[in-house]
């Protein structure tokens, strides 16, 4: 449960709750919002729902002994409110929640909101929805006109009412004003036979949008339990900080300040690490003896939770600046932080590549890769280095094929002579001497070449096999020769026609 909604029929017309009730409820829940129309919201996150609601009702009864107050508990605001408004009337409650106290607590379990809403009349939905609409139109989320909001331990009203929070008359006016938008729509819906939330929710969005416009869509969403209002803003986590006040003396020596900062940093860094974070920036504040505060922000090159880095920054700062006055207090506060990333390991780092780390890395890879099996496949691209692509195959299908062949690999008959072309990772530039043959095609053929190991004589060369293309990307033009060297190597050379350079591209073996 995220929300508890307290509602009383008397509050919409009579005296509505105010600060006094909020103060009471904040004893139980961290945050409370009181709307001018007589609806009270309590933040139930992390609290036992029904029991807390009973407590809230009991507290409310102390202030409003004559009013019947009901509570609705749900993960969706509109559902919570309708549960409170509807109470136990007209059917059983949804979900495993029980009716607490004297049957005034209604609970709708998460995931069963539509089931709960379905039999409810659209008029009931519209009466609650009108406020939702007003919020949406106002462009703000929780704090809005006619609402009081307060957190436990807060300094007072977070979002004071702009329409006279305390005036009863103004609250009534609020209700009548915001209820109006749905009057015509309700008449239309009624005219076409739509009376319950379930009937409206079952329609298609497009149909509703075309015929009933934006108001219709808004009501349709609410009828489906889609209410994304943020009644309570998220509580910002407290930022790590540390401070020290020099009560008996003043500090003017930078070294002493650095010493103090180092001590404070220890606490801040510990807090950061405890939260699994590293800081992007720290705010360093000095309270000055003559009054006022001198502030500077420290920012490292990258977020870190290393004390040495921060201390170095602080020292450098203090070396560069001249403080306007003696210091009587130091505060160090994390301005912004981010989650600390996992350590980037290198499997070839002997210090890192322990068996456990490797195993964990492999497991992680397998988890990411799933069941994918790939195999090389010749794509047909003229460039040799691009002619092989890795293609995913279905291992189960491949297994079936294998089984159909009776468990034989069926790739190559045993004993077939087989030379495989091995390509260098990068073609290696070489020097080549060429000569035109005396007979046959009038091409220049390589007769010897020099690689890292020196000159090699070419006994025979066949080719050229020409490839060219890629004008739209990276043009290439090569002439390949298959050469047999005097030491029996079968190598593959090519002449880059665009650059006029020869390369050794691979060998057969």
């Amino acid at each position: 449960m995220r929300y508890a909604c307290l509602w009383s029929p008397a509050w919409s017309t009579g005296e509505a709750p105010g600060d006094e009730l909020m103060g009471l409820l904040l004893e139980v829940v961290p945050r409370v919002v009181v709307e001018g129309r007589g609806v009270v919201w309590a933040d139930l996150r992390g609290l036992p729902g029904p029991r807390t609601a009973e407590t809230l009702l009991a507290l409310t009864a102390e202030l409003f002994p004559d009013d019947v107050v009901r509570a609705g508990l749900a993960a969706v605001p509109i559902v919570a409110e309708l549960a409170a408004r509807r109470g136990g009337v007209g059917g059983g409650l949804i979900g495993g929640g029980a009716i607490g106290g004297d049957g005034l607590v209604s609970v709708v379990d998460p995931g069963r909101e539509r089931e709960f809403l379905a039999p409810l009349p659209l008029s009931l939905l519209a009466s609650a929805a009108s406020f939702s609409a007003a919020w949406s139109r106002s462009g703000v989320s929780a704090p809005s006109a006619g609402r009081l909001s307060r957190s436990r331990g807060g300094s007072g009203v977070v979002a004071p009412s702009t329409s006279g929070a305390g005036g009863r008359a103004s609250r009534r006016r609020d209700v009548s004003t915001v209820a109006a938008p749905y009057e015509r729509l309700l008449a239309l819906l009624d005219g076409v036979g739509l009376r319950t939330c379930g009937e409206l929710a079952s329609l298609e969005l497009a149909a509703v949008e075309v015929r009933f416009g934006a108001e219709g869509v808004r009501l349709w969403r609410l009828a489906r339990g889609e209410d994304h209002r943020r009644l309570f803003l998220p509580i910002p986590p407290e930022r790590p900080h540390a401070s020290l006040d020099f009560i008996d003396y003043q500090v003017t020596d930078p070294e002493r300040l650095v010493f103090t900062i180092n001590a404070l940093l220890e606490n801040v860094i510990a807090a950061l690490r405890g939260r699994g974070e590293r800081a992007r920036s720290l705010l360093l504040s000095f309270s000055l003896a003559g009054g006022g505060v001198w502030r500077r922000t420290l920012r490292p090159a990258r977020p870190t939770a290393t004390r040495e880095v921060w201390l170095r920054l602080a020292r450098r700062l203090l070396e560069e600046v001249k403080l306007p006055d003696a210091v009587v207090g130091v505060v160090l506060e994390v301005e912004s932080a981010e989650p600390a990333a996992a350590r980037q390991g290198d499997l070839f780092d002997r210090g890192f590549a322990t068996a456990g780390v490797v195993e964990a890395a492999l497991v992680r890879l397998l988890e990411r890769q799933g069941e994918i099996v790939v195999e090389p496949r010749r794509s047909g691209h003229p460039l040799p280095e691009r002619s092989v692509a890795w293609e995913a195959v279905d291992p189960f299908a491949r297994l079936s094929e294998f089984e159909e062949r009776g468990g034989r690999a069926g790739v190559r008959a045993p004993g077939t002579p087989y030379l495989a072309l091995h390509l260098l990772a990068e073609p290696q530039p070489i020097d080549v001497e060429t000569r035109v043959q005396e007979s046959g095609p009038a091409h220049e053929f390589p007769v010897r070449y020099r690689d890292r190991s020196g000159w090699k004589k070419v006994l025979a060369a066949s080719g050229p096999d020409r490839i060219s293309g890629g004008q739209w990307e990276e043009p290439y033009a090569r002439e390949y020769f298959r050469c047999v060297t005097d030491i029996g190597e079968l190598v593959w050379l090519f002449h880059d026609r665009r650059r006029g350079v020869w390369f050794l591209h691979g060998w057969w073996g």
């Binding site: 003229p382 091409h443 739209w472």
Partner: protein, 1150 residues
């Protein structure tokens, strides 16, 4: 030099060739080839261009084709005439199978559907061979038996690496290869060579070449080196790669990765020396190529199929029967022959007899006779109208003797020398019924003897850009956006524009390799054939099987067409029969039908009074929207200047507003002389009889011929040859030579040299006219007929236009606005009183309503009261027409600043007895968007059973879909049953059983008022639903706001003075960017009163192009210009006029 390339592929291999035949020849000539072979894949479409170019370049053309025989490609070269006919027959067989000989296509037993399936059937049936024996398109192939049947006179090359022999060798089955080679030897004997190719692909290729040579040596068969080029250089190779990628549906990257592209650039036309270096030591293969080339011959005359033999009555031959028919026609048309007429007739009959073209005339006569027997309007056009024989046979409508038209412009004995054009008889038939005539031709002659000519579509900048960008992987949206800005540009022009400014403006970086490749490809796609399409109606008919002369293939729509382009056939002097479709004739016939239904009087096109004052007054006012040929913006401007008073003025008018006269700057002198603003002078007294009718300005081709004959002493045939050098920039050197000859002749005959120079100069300027007087006469007759109908029967005229639409210059909405301004009450579609086509209904009112403004006269709100007539002109429940009349007489006086609209006091109907005699025009359902033909048939059938009584009744009995019934309601077609479009829509939804909450659950009235559209909403709703607004003009509803801002309406332009600054606004009807205007753009705005011409200077167009092109409503600040009745606004600033979104498509740059 020994080598001859025998196996070139041009772009006529469609998808496997990236250069034109002419480019191949040009490159071959540069390399010094003595001969060159063309073997496109199952296609001979390029051979005429190839042969002509080769003959010009002094290269021997070797004609052949690559054909797939039993699954393997091989090439066949024509050695002689028999070989060529067999080659054509094999290509035909590969393309269409044996279906041409199928019984259904013969004269006997044909059901009349042989030419093309009916339109409705075509839309429903899947694209697959529709006739027995037909081959699937895109995979032409032959069997060995078919090849054996027609192998005589052919030289066979065994094919590339995928050929039969090479495939067997690659599959390590040499014995089988040797066996198959024996089969080839048995069939072709000495006419066979083993084809050997080497492209430096791999060792395997070299090994294959070696194996083939060894096989050849072993079997004592010659082997020949071929390179099979498909491109010329790197640029055209890039285009070839693109075409290859497109064929696979890939972009270049993917095609390269898939290994689809040729691996290197060796498939180009190489210099012979390069081949000689490669095959050094193996020169036998090179020598063999030359020997084969010398053994092959080709002559364009082999393409000419024998003319059809007309089945003449016993005792007649073609000539005698033609003579009999012509003299019978003379009696009918002339009543008797004057000596002049008889002399001309005998002259023509003599020429026709000597040239053997009598059958040609008889075929056309029979087609025209068939059309007339079916009530199909038809009329000859073009140079055929110069022939008395054609006139007396009823093919043409203009008397050449009376109008002094020159027969030699049509046919002369010098024109059949084998290199000149053959005579064409072009006949226009009603557009919508032309199919009947085509079917008749197929039925009469059979598919084996008759086929339609092709049109070779070449790349233009938009298509080239889109294809290139698609291949290069650019976003399609960007390609589309850019291509829209390159209309009517050639690819190379497109590249220049792209480079100059367009690319930068749209963020396209041309400095990248991809950008550079795009520019390279665009330039290389200049003149490149892209696809082959069907000519609108050019038939070739032969007494012999046509496929033996010109290959035939099938289209996706099931037609059989020739592989040759019509222009190429002209160059090969192949006679053609042009059965063209003309929307104007359809409109005239529909109007005649409607008039006959209303009045009982049947008009005939050639019996309309040709001196009707009202018609000429209307034309002179520029009130010509909807008329044939003279309705465009430029024509209107010209009409206001020339103010035609007789039919010949229209003849001139049709010919005058053409690119040629405009470019030659002859329009202005003609207009000024006609208006008496400058004297009519003739360079030589002898020219006066020739040029008197056109005020001394040469306008027609016949005049040029007459000048040559009169002053230069040219014979008629020489004059015709001179005429044929005109019309194309590419013929300029020929023309200049002819003009030099003419000048010399004139001087020799005593014409002063300076006068001869002046005449020659005039004729040089005149060269681009390309318009014969006879053609202008034919069109002028139709133009006059449409104008007459508009002047006297406006309701029937606009009814016919709308039912014949699409045709003409203006969209239906403009036609309807014009009709309303002409006093025609236009009613929206109605399911009770209307029909699929537009219909006429009697009017109810008896007096002309006095409307103070169009908005006031629209009167939907005024008339649609309780129990009164509804907005669609129907009384609810009664079905009677109502009295909502738009426009009105008050609208007329100020209507046309550009001259369109009605004059004060003008009463449209013939009897001038009042507007009440003009019937109301009911818009047909065909204009309702989203209404299918199925729905049409269902509605008609249900209504024939019993009249509809309600919306629910319509839905129930016509079984309409939800979308269809909603569209009907939106268009107002259901208002006869349910007043109010929204209410009708709700009721329709309820009736169609739509789910809640789409409609009320009960049949009672809605529990709330849905609210009806306002008048303004209704106008825009009409545009959305039908594209036609019967209730007003969108500008009416902006007028108050515009008037407050000082915007002048089209009516208000009358009050402006020349040079005054003004603001105008309107709905953009058309944007034009004529090639003759040097970048100036003309925008035609329409408002509730008429039209406004806006001129956008070139510099401003570049600056405001997005606004000018992208705004449906345009606000223009500019300078008002007036020249007589011609009024223009020269724009200076342009703004988009903000209005409701409108569903409307203007006529842009067409």
């Amino acid at each position: 030099m020994a080598y001859v390339e025998l196996r070139c592929h041009s772009a006529f291999s469609f998808g496997d060739g990236a250069c034109t035949p002419e480019a191949l020849v040009e490159r071959a000539a540069a390399y010094g080839y003595p001969a060159l072979g063309l073997t496109d894949t199952a296609d001979l479409g390029g051979i005429i261009r190839f042969a002509l170019a080769a003959m010009r370049a002094g290269i021997r053309p070797v004609i052949g084709a690559e054909l797939v025989v039993d699954g393997y490609p091989a090439a066949f070269l024509a050695m002689n005439e028999e070989g060529y006919h067999n080659l054509a027959a094999l290509v035909t067989r590969a393309r269409v199978g044996s279906s041409l000989q199928a019984p259904e296509n013969g004269v006997a037993g044909d059901d009349g559907r042989a030419g093309r399936r009916p339109l409705a059937a075509r839309r429903r049936r899947p694209r697959r061979p529709s006739r027995p024996g037909a081959r699937p398109r895109g995979r032409p192939h032959l069997t060995w038996a078919e090849l054996a049947e027609r192998s005589a006179g052919l030289f066979a090359l065994t094919g590339p690496a995928t050929g039969e022999l090479a495939s067997l060798i690659r599959a390590r089955r040499p014995e089988e290869a040797a066996y198959q080679l024996g089969r080839w030897q048995d069939l072709f004997g000495e006419r066979l060579a083993i084809e050997v190719q080497y492209h430096h692909v791999s060792g395997a290729e070299a090994a294959l070449a070696q194996a083939l040579i060894e096989l050849a040596d072993w079997s004592h068969t010659p082997w020949v080196v071929v390179n099979e080029p498909r491109y010329l250089d790197n640029a055209s190779r890039l285009v070839h790669d693109m075409l290859t990628a497109h064929r696979a549906g890939f972009d270049l990257d993917r095609a390269a990765a898939a290994g689809l592209l040729l691996p290197n650039g060796e498939w180009r036309l190489k210099h012979p020396a390069e081949l000689e270096r490669l095959w050094r030591g193996r020169e036998a293969g090179l020598d063999e190529s030359r020997r084969i080339a010398l053994a092959c011959d080709f002559d364009l005359r082999w393409l000419r199929s024998p003319l059809p033999r007309f089945p003449v009555p016993p005792g007649h031959d073609d000539d005698s029967f033609l003579r009999e028919l012509v003299y019978a026609g003379a009696n009918e048309r002339w009543g008797g022959l004057s000596p002049r007429q008889e002399a001309q007739l005998e002259h023509e009959l003599g020429v026709i007899r000597r040239l053997g073209f009598a059958g040609f005339f008889l075929v056309m006569w029979e087609a025209v006779r068939f059309a007339r027997s079916r009530g199909i309007l038809c009329q000859g056009r073009g140079s055929a109208a110069n022939s008395v024989v054609a006139y007396l046979l009823g093919i043409t409508a203009v008397d050449p003797v009376e109008h002094g038209l020159l027969f030699e412009r049509f046919l002369s004995e010098s024109r059949t020398d084998g290199s000149a054009e053959a005579p064409d008889i072009d006949v226009d038939f009603e557009m919508h019924r032309r199919e009947e005539v085509l079917d008749h031709i197929y039925r009469s002659w059979g598919r084996e003897h008759a086929a339609i000519t092709a049109v070779t579509q070449v790349y233009y900048a938009p298509t080239a850009l889109q294809d290139a960008m698609r291949a290069l992987g650019y976003p399609a949206e960007l390609a589309f956006t850019l291509s829209k800005r390159l209309h009517r540009r050639y690819p190379s022009e497109g590249a220049e524009i792209l480079e100059a400014e367009l690319a930068a403006r749209h963020g396209l970086d041309l400095a990248t390799p991809r950008g550079r490749a795009l520019l390279t490809a665009l330039r290389a796609m200049e003149d490149l054939p892209r696809l082959r399409s069907t000519h609108p109606g050019g038939f070739v008919i032969s007494s012999a099987p046509l496929g033996d002369y010109m290959p035939i293939e099938t289209t996706t729509l099931g037609r059989t067409i020739l592989q040759f382009d019509k222009d190429d056939l002209d160059a090969a002097a192949v006679p053609k029969f042009d059965f063209l479709g003309l929307g104007g004739l359809t409109a005239i016939r529909l109007a005649f039908d409607a008039i006959e239904r209303r009045t009982g009087k049947r008009l005939e096109m050639y019996r309309l009074p040709q001196d009707d004052r009202r018609t000429y007054e209307m034309i002179s006012r520029g009130d010509v929207v909807g008329t044939f040929q003279i309705e465009s913006r430029a024509q209107v401007q010209s009409l206001l200047q020339t103010r035609p008073e007789r039919l010949y003025d229209l003849v001139v008018q049709v010919a005058l507003i053409r690119p040629g006269p405009i470019q030659a700057k002859f329009v202005r002198p003609y207009v000024r002389r006609r208006r008496g603003l400058e004297p009519v002078v003739y360079p030589h007294p002898a020219l006066e009889p020739i040029l008197r009718r056109t005020y001394g300005v040469p306008i027609f081709q016949e005049q040029a011929m007459a000048i040559a004959m009169t002053l230069g002493g040219f014979s008629a045939a020489e004059a015709d040859a001179f005429r044929r050098t005109m019309g194309h920039q590419k013929k300029l050197p020929l023309l200049q030579a002819e003009l030099r000859k003419l000048r010399a002749r004139m001087v020799a005959r005593g014409v002063a040299p300076e006068v001869a120079d002046e005449i020659a100069e005039d004729l040089l300027s005149f060269a681009n006219y390309g318009f014969p007087e006879s053609h202008a006469w034919s069109f002028a007759l139709i133009a006059y007929a449409t104008a007459y109908l508009k002047a006297h029967y406006p309701a029937e005229f606009f009814l016919a236009l709308l039912n014949a639409w699409p045709m003409g210059f203006y969209p239906p909405s403009t036609l309807v606005h014009t009709a309303r301004r002409a006093g025609v009450e236009v009613r929206p579609p109605c399911l009770r009183n209307g029909d699929w086509e537009c219909t006429l209904e009697p009017r109810k009112t008896t007096s002309w309503p006095r409307a103070t403004s169009p908005a006031a006269s629209v009167g939907r709100g005024e008339s649609a009261g309780e129990g009164g007539p509804t907005g669609n002109g129907c009384d609810v429940g009664s079905g009677c027409p109502a009295a909502s009349i738009p426009g009105g007489a008050d609208a007329a006086p100020g209507v046309p600043p550009g001259g369109t609209g009605c004059a004060p006091g003008f009463t449209p109907d013939e009897g001038a007895t009042g507007i009440e005699e003009i019937p109301a025009l009911r818009i047909g359902w065909r204009f309702i968007h989203g209404l299918s033909e199925r729905a049409r048939d269902a509605i008609r059938a249900a209504r024939e059973d019993a009249p509809f009584t309600s919306v629910a009744d319509v839905v129930r009995r016509a079984r309409l879909t939800r979308t269809e019934v909603l569209q009907l309601a939106r268009a107002g077609a259901l208002e006869a049953f349910e007043p109010g479009r929204r209410r009708a829509a709700w009721e329709a939804l309820r009736s169609v059983g739509d789910l809640l909450p789409l409609a009320p659950a009960s049949a009672e009235l809605l529990p709330f008022d849905p609210g009806e559209p306002t008048e303004e909403e209704l106008v825009f709703l009409d545009y959305l639903a039908t594209g036609i607004c019967t209730t007003g003009h969108p500008m009416e509803h902006l007028r108050e706001r515009l008037a407050a801002a000082g915007v002048t309406s089209s009516r208000g332009l009358e009050t402006l003075t020349d040079g005054e600054r003004c603001l105008v606004a309107g709905l953009v009807v058309a944007r034009q960017h004529p090639a003759t205007a040097k970048g100036t753009v003309f925008v035609l705005l329409e408002d509730e009163w008429g039209f406004i011409n806006v001129i956008v200077p070139p510099r401003l167009y570049l600056e405001h192009r997005e606004i000018v092109n992208g705004s449906p409503f345009l606000l223009v600040e500019g300078r008002f210009e007036r020249d007589g009745q011609v009024m223009n606004v020269v724009g200076r600033r342009f703004r988009k006029l903000i209005a409701r979104p409108i569903s409307y498509r203007s006529r842009d740059y067409r």
